[in-house]
C-alpha cells in the first residue's frame, strides 16, 4: 500500500542555503507523524514542499504515491494545510471566514456543519459571529483548525497547531487529532513541543538543521517516552 505522504531523499535549497538535506520518511494512512525540531530546522519548509510551494533540489516528495511536482493540483486537493500563523481575514467573522475559504475550495458547508466544527475545537459560541480582529491568538488558531477539519481531506499538514492554545485546549486538540487519525486521516504535524509531540504522535521524527537525525515510534498501546525524546532533542541541539 502506498503511503499518503512520503519524502524520498529530499533536499531543499532556499535562497542559496541548504534547508533540507537528504530527508526520507513516510507517513502511513491513519498515522500521526510529528516532526520535531528547533527554530529554523526546516519543519515548515518540509510542509511547503509537500504542498508544492517549494521545489526539491534533489529527491522528491510524494502525495498518495504521486510526485507532487508532477501534479501540484492533485496533491493540494488531498491536503488541508494549517499554516504557521493562523492566516484568516480580520475583517470577517469566523463564520464568514470559513464560508469563504470553503467556497473557494469548492466545498459546501451548512451553518450546522460550521457549528459542529467550532464545537470540536471549542470555539465559544458568542465569538463565532465576531470579527477575527477582536480574537485572541488561540481563538484564531481554533478557527484555522476548524477550517482544516471542514476541508475533509485525507491528509492534514499542521504547522505548530497548538501554538497559542491554553493547556486545556491543547489536551482537547490532541484528542481531536487522535480521533481524526483513527477515522483514517493521515496527519503530519510539525512542532517544537516535545511533550505534545509525544502525547499525540504515533511516530516522532527529530529534525536538526535540515537533517532527520532520529526517529521514535510508539510501542503498541503506549505513548512515546517524553524523557527519551527530550534527551535526544537536547543532546542533538547542543551538539
Amino acid at each position: 500500500m502506498t503511503a499518503p505522504l512520503e519524502a524520498r531523499s529530499l533536499s531543499l535549497m532556499r535562497e542559496g542555503n541548504a534547508v533540507l538535506d537528504d530527508v526520507s520518511f513516510s507517513v502511513a494512512e491513519g498515522e500521526i507523524f510529528a516532526l520535531l525540531g528547533g527554530n529554523g530546522a526546516g519543519k515548515s519548509s518540509t510542509l511547503l514542499t509537500f504542498l508544492g510551494f517549494l521545489r526539491p533540489s534533489a529527491g522528491e516528495v510524494l502525495v498518495e504515491g504521486r510526485s507532487v511536482h508532477a501534479n501540484v493540483a492533485a496533491a493540494r486537493s488531498s491536503i488541508a494545510y494549517l499554516p504557521e500563523a493562523a492566516s484568516l481575514y480580520g475583517h470577517m467573522t469566523a463564520y464568514e471566514n470559513l464560508e469563504y475559504f470553503l467556497d473557494l475550495a469548492g466545498r459546501k458547508a451548512t451553518r450546522s456543519d460550521l457549528d459542529s466544527a467550532f464545537e470540536r475545537v471549542a470555539l465559544a459560541e458568542e465569538a463565532r459571529s465576531r470579527r477575527l480582529q477582536s480574537y485572541s491568538k488561540g481563538m484564531r488558531q481554533k478557527t484555522a483548525i476548524a477550517l482544516a477539519l471542514l476541508r475533509e481531506t485525507p491528509i492534514l499538514l499542521l504547522d505548530e497547531p497548538t501554538s497559542g492554545l491554553d493547556p486545556v485546549a491543547i489536551d482537547e486538540f490532541h484528542d481531536l487529532v487522535k480521533a481524526l487519525a483513527s477515522s483514517g486521516q493521515t496527519i503530519l504535524m510539525v512542532t517544537h513541543d516535545v511533550y505534545g509531540a509525544c502525547q499525540v504522535a504515533d511516530r516522532v521524527g527529530l529534525l536538526r538543521r535540515g537533517k532527520l537525525v532520529g526517529s521514535f515510534a510508539a510501542e503498541p498501546g503506549r505513548r512515546i517516552d517524553t524523557e527519551t525524546v527530550h534527551a535526544a532533542f537536547a543532546e542533538r541541539e547542543a551538539a
Binding site: L48, L51, F53, A73, R76, S77, I79, Y81, P83, A85, S87, L88, Y89, G90, H91, M92, E96, Y100, F101, D103, L104, A105, G106, L147, R151
Partner: protein, 478 residues
C-alpha cells in the same frame, strides 16, 4: 466565473467595512453628482442663450432700416457656436477658444467669449468638469481601493492558504479584477446618466455610447495597472507610492510636457507677429473704400472694356460697389491664407499632443473625449471656417447690391448734404441676403472617425496593461 464573483464579493465586504474607502467613494460620488448638475445647468443655459442670441442677431440685421449698403457691411453680424449636447459632460476647448465671432467687412475678428460671467461665477470650479473628474479623480479612487487588494493576501498569509486549497494566482486575480470592474461599472452610472441626458438634447446615441465606452476603457486601464501593482509589489506603502507616482506622471506631468513639447516642435508665430506680416501684405492690396486707389487701375481697365465704355460714370453698375466686391474677395483670400496657416499649425500641435497618449492614457482619453463630444479644436476650426463663409457671403451680397442697386452718381454725392445722404440708400429688402447660421456638431460617424487614433491608443493601453496583469498573476508564488 462564480469563483471570481465570490472573491469580488469578499472584496466588497472589505471595502464596505472600511471607513476610509467608503468615505473616499462617497466624496467622489458627491463631487461627481454636484459637478454633473452644475455643468449640465451651465451648458444647457449657454446652449439656449447662444441659440437665442443667434436668432436675435439675425432679426436685428433684417430689421435694419433703408441704408447705404456699405454701412450694413460695417454694421456686421454675429455667429455663435452653441455647445454641443455632450458638452454637458465634456466642455472641452470651449473654455479657451471663445464661442462667438463678430462678422464684418474687411476683417476676420477673433472668437470672443460669449459670457465671461460663467467663468467668473464658478471661480476655479468652471475647470472642474465631469470629464476631468473621470480623467483624474476616478483613477485615484481605483488606486485607493485596489493598491493592496492582492498583496494583503500575501501579507496576511491567506494567499498561502488559498493557493494550498487549489486556487491559483490567475483565479484570484480574476476575482480581484471582477471587484474592480464592478466599482468601475458603478462609477460609470453618472456618466451614463449624463450621456443619456445629452441624447435627449439631440445627441446621437452612437456618439454618447462611444463616449461612455471610451471612459470605460480608460478606467479599465487604470484598474489593470492598479491590480498589476498589487500583485507584483509586496508592501502596501510601496504599492501606494508607486501608483500615486504613476498617476502624477500620467495625469499631470506628461500632459504638461506634451503641451510644451508640441508647441515647441511646431512653432506657431505669435498673433501680433503674424498680424503685422498680414497688415503689410494687406496694404499692397489697396483700400476698397477708395475706388481711386491706384491698386484698382487694372480692374478699372478690365471692367470698362467688359462693358465697352470709356469712363466709370458710363458704367451700368456702381463702380464703388465693384471695387468693394473685388477688394473684399482679394482681402478674404489673403486673410484665409493666414487663417488656414494658423489653423494648420494648431492642428499639427494638437495631433502631436494626441500622440503623447502613448505615454499617458489620460491624454488619450482627454483627446477622445473632446473629439467624441464635438468640443475639440477641429470643431472650433470648422466653426471659424463656416462663420467666415457666412461673413464673406453676406458682405459680398451687400457689395453686389451696392454695385447693382445704388446709382453711382448718388453714391458719389452722398456726403454733400443731408438730402444726398438720404438719397444714397437702398431698400431694407436687400438685407435679406443674410443666410441663417446654425452651427451643428459633426455627425457621430465623423467624430468617431476623428477619434480613432486616441481610441486606438486606449485599446493598446488596455491590451498591454491587462497582459501585464495576466503575466503577473501567472507567476504568483507564496
Amino acid at each position: 466565473m462564480s469563483m471570481a464573483i465570490r472573491i469580488a464579493r469578499e472584496e466588497w465586504r472589505l471595502w464596505l467595512r472600511s471607513k476610509v474607502v467608503v468615505a473616499a467613494a462617497l466624496i467622489i460620488a458627491v463631487l461627481l453628482a454636484a459637478t454633473s448638475v452644475l455643468t449640465i445647468n451651465r451648458i444647457a443655459d449657454e446652449q439656449v442663450q447662444r441659440m437665442e442670441q443667434q436668432v436675435a442677431a439675425e432679426e436685428t440685421f433684417f430689421a435694419q432700416p433703408d441704408r447705404h449698403p456699405h454701412r450694413m457691411v460695417h454694421y456686421g453680424h454675429y455667429a455663435f457656436r452653441p455647445p454641443p449636447p455632450l458638452a454637458v459632460f465634456e466642455p472641452g476647448v470651449d473654455a479657451v477658444t471663445g464661442q462667438s465671432i463678430f462678422l464684418e467687412g474687411h476683417r476676420q475678428n477673433s472668437a470672443m467669449f460669449a459670457d465671461t460671467k460663467a467663468g467668473a461665477d464658478l471661480g476655479g470650479f468652471a475647470a472642474l468638469t465631469p470629464a476631468s473628474l473621470y480623467q483624474l479623480l476616478l483613477p485615484l479612487l481605483l488606486i485607493v481601493l485596489g493598491h493592496a487588494m492582492f498583496l494583503r493576501e500575501r501579507e496576511s498569509g491567506t494567499l498561502a492558504v488559498l493557493l494550498a486549497q487549489g486556487s491559483s494566482g490567475t483565479k484570484l486575480a480574476l476575482g480581484k479584477a471582477t471587484a474592480l470592474l464592478s466599482v468601475i461599472a458603478i462609477f460609470m452610472i453618472p456618466l451614463i446618466v449624463v450621456a443619456a441626458y445629452s441624447v435627449t438634447l439631440g445627441e446621437s446615441v452612437l456618439a454618447a455610447a462611444s463616449l461612455v465606452a471610451g471612459y470605460f476603457l480608460y478606467l479599465c486601464i487604470w484598474g489593470a495597472i492598479v491590480l498589476a501593482a498589487s500583485i507584483l509589489i509586496r508592501q502596501r506603502a510601496i504599492s501606494l507610492g508607486a501608483l500615486v507616482f504613476v498617476w502624477l506622471f500620467a495625469a499631470l506631468i506628461v500632459p504638461r510636457v506634451a503641451i510644451n513639447a508640441s508647441s515647441a516642435a511646431i512653432d506657431a508665430p505669435g498673433k501680433i507677429e503674424s498680424d503685422l506680416v498680414m497688415l503689410a501684405e494687406q496694404r499692397k492690396l489697396g483700400d476698397g473704400h477708395n475706388a481711386a486707389d491706384p491698386a484698382f487701375e487694372q480692374l478699372q481697365a478690365q471692367v470698362l472694356e467688359q462693358y465697352d465704355v470709356e469712363t466709370i460714370e458710363e458704367l451700368p453698375i456702381n463702380w464703388r460697389g465693384v471695387v468693394a466686391t473685388y477688394s473684399e474677395a482679394e482681402l478674404t483670400n489673403l486673410l484665409n491664407r493666414f487663417a488656414e496657416n494658423r489653423m494648420a499649425l494648431e492642428a499639427g500641435q494638437s495631433r502631436l499632443f494626441d500622440l503623447f497618449g502613448l505615454a499617458s492614457p489620460t491624454i488619450a482619453i482627454a483627446s477622445s473625449s473632446r473629439m467624441l463630444a464635438g468640443t475639440d479644436l477641429a470643431t472650433h476650426h470648422r466653426f471659424l471656417r463656416e462663420s467666415e463663409n457666412l461673413r464673406f457671403d453676406f458682405v459680398q451680397a451687400l457689395n453686389q447690391a451696392h454695385a447693382t442697386d445704388l446709382d453711382y452718381a448718388l453714391d458719389m454725392n452722398r456726403n454733400n448734404d443731408a438730402a444726398s445722404a438720404e438719397a444714397a440708400r437702398i431698400n431694407a429688402e436687400s438685407w435679406q441676403v443674410l443666410d441663417e447660421f446654425r452651427f451643428q456638431p459633426d455627425s457621430a460617424v465623423d467624430r468617431l472617425g476623428r477619434a480613432r487614433l486616441p481610441l486606438g491608443i486606449l485599446l493598446l493601453w488596455l491590451a498591454i496593461a491587462s497582459s501585464f496583469v495576466v503575466w503577473a498573476a501567472r507567476k504568483v508564488r507564496v
